[in-house]
């Protein structure tokens, strides 16, 4: 099974390493690649859109033709996960700043996001989030605290139909799931905890 991390800008390496550790802990063989060209997305069943700058990443996704491939992989039953900037790109709707800056959204998750809603870097923070991951085939489900790392994080301001909130920060959604698409406003790839990356891998068809 092959999965990839959109590798045009952002903390790509951290996701690649976390996915490799997660696969090892699960005892499964997964090839994890940096995606910079669309050719690399053949036979791929999982895609992570990392943290970084959403304007930059979305521009490069379009420029280098990855957009159609991400959509195709989702439609064929693959798994997509976005963290922070990645979540903005996955959303169906953004705030004025997202619209004004021309971030082109993939519209895969029925949520509205407010970019940098917590403020500037000074207001970035660590706080434990509460996860309630539903069971899937190979995964028994998990409930508990997870270290949340929020860096100039977006805020999910509206959750629409078909979306399950699977992680919250004091009642506010910070991780959601719609079918096989996961969207997080924090950065599990910056912690030592592989739980969320393992969950991503267990969702693979």
């Amino acid at each position: 099974m092959k999965v990839g991390v959109v590798g045009l800008q952002g903390d790509v390496e951290e996701h690649v390493q976390q996915l490799r550790r997660a696969a090892e802990e699960l005892g499964i063989t997964v090839k994890v690649v940096w995606i910079r060209e669309r050719d690399e997305m053949k036979d791929m069943w999982g895609v992570v859109i990392p943290g970084g700058e959403s304007t930059t990443i979305s521009r490069l996704i379009d420029k280098f033709g990855l957009r159609e491939e991400i959509i195709r992989i989702r439609e064929e039953g693959g798994v997509i996960m976005g963290t922070c900037a990645g979540t903005i790109i996955l959303a169906v709707e953004g705030d004025e700043s997202v619209v004004e800056k021309g971030v082109s959204l993939l519209k895969m998750v029925n949520i509205k996001v407010d970019r940098n809603a917590f403020g500037r870097q000074r207001e970035s923070f660590e706080a434990p989030v509460h996860l309630d991951l539903p069971p899937t085939g190979a995964f028994k489900g998990w409930r508990g605290e997870f270290p949340g790392v929020f860096i100039r994080a977006p805020r999910i301001t509206d959750v629409g139909e078909g979306v399950d909130v699977v992680g919250d920060l004091n009642g506010e959604p910070v991780m959601v799931k719609q079918g096989n698409v996961l969207a997080l406003t924090f950065h599990p790839e910056l912690t030592d905890d592989t739980l969320i990356h393992k969950y991503f891998l267990t969702l693979l068809p």
């Binding site: 390496e13 970084g52 700058e53 922070c84 021309g102 000074r122 860096i151 004091n170």
Partner: protein
């Protein structure tokens, strides 16, 4: 919306948060801008952040005199114009300029040799700040001393405002070689290296284990073309700062976009070929040998 989280559980300004911010910039281009219009051009071209200045390094060099932190009003205008992070520079050791920039809310502070140093003995104690810092370095010792003081990001010093990449290449190669030479050393030998390069042993050891600097390392100082940027990436930079190189060129919009694409595809000559075409004149540039030693910005700091 008001945050409802219990305050004792919230942690601001931790090393993880500061270094994490720098990691989000990886694979990106940070561009020097002097006004809101330039900042918008940079953002539209795909810059991951802008460095707000009163003058680009080439003009600071030309103007001479004492170069200080930019007018906060100027920086504020730039912060209001874009949604990407905004960085600004303080003089080496000028902790009060840093306090002012933190109060203003810039996303990262560059303790920079491009400005005239303010303290002959100390760099800023960066651990006291919630806002992350980036600092210049010419060699491994200098990089690790800055990290020890709390820098969340390192950049090569290069020679700012010259449009000449040779010094950035020199500094990147010197740092890479020093890291490579740590391979296979015993703890005793590493301790000796730490003494020689005047850096803390723990950081030398961490660097040896990682095979790279413990924080994000960008290239800066003299990058003027997509090829320069891609070269620095191939030499192992995590991203690039472009100072005078963009807005001192004939077609800043096109050049900015080309450098962003070159950094994303730094090892693909086909893409580099495409983006390098028809960019108009690059900034003129200065031969390093023609700058007297005492006027070289990289000599500032230690």
């Amino acid at each position: 919306m008001v945050l409802k989280i219990k305050l004792e559980k919230l942690r601001y300004g931790s090393e993880l948060i500061k270094r994490g911010f720098a990691k989000m910039q990886k694979g990106g281009v940070i561009m020097d801008v002097v006004n809101a219009e330039q900042a918008v051009v940079a953002e539209e071209a795909g810059a991951v952040a802008v460095m707000a200045l009163e003058r680009v390094p080439a003009d600071i060099r030309a103007a001479g005199g004492v170069a200080r932190m930019a007018d906060p009003k100027k920086i504020e205008e730039i912060m209001d114009a874009v949604s990407i992070p905004v960085m600004a520079k303080v003089r080496i050791g000028h902790f009060v300029e840093a306090q002012i920039l933190e109060a203003l809310g810039v996303d990262m502070i560059d303790e920079s040799e491009v400005l005239t140093p303010a303290d002959p003995f100390h760099h800023v104690n960066k651990k006291q700040f919630r806002v992350p810092f980036v600092c210049g370095a010419r060699n491994l010792g200098e990089a690790l001393r800055r990290i020890d003081e709390g820098a969340a990001m390192i950049r090569t010093k290069g020679e700012a405002g010259t449009g000449n990449v040779i010094e950035a290449v020199r500094h990147m190669r010197i740092i890479n070689k020093a890291i490579w030479e740590l391979k296979g050393l015993s703890e005793e030998e590493m301790r000796k290296v730490a003494q020689e390069i005047k850096a803390p042993f723990e950081l030398v050891k961490e660097t040896a284990e990682l095979g790279r600097l413990p924080v994000v390392n960008f290239a800066a100082g003299g990058i003027a073309t997509p090829a320069d940027a891609a070269m620095m990436m191939q030499l192992g930079a995590d991203g690039v700062f472009v100072g005078s190189g963009i807005f001192k060129s004939e077609n800043p919009e096109k050049r900015a976009r080309a450098i962003v694409e070159a950094v994303a595809h730094y090892d693909d000559p086909e893409v580099l070929l495409e983006v390098s075409k028809d960019l108009g004149e690059a900034m003129k540039g200065i031969e390093i040998e023609s700058i007297p030693q005492e006027q070289r910005l990289q000599e500032r700091g230690w």
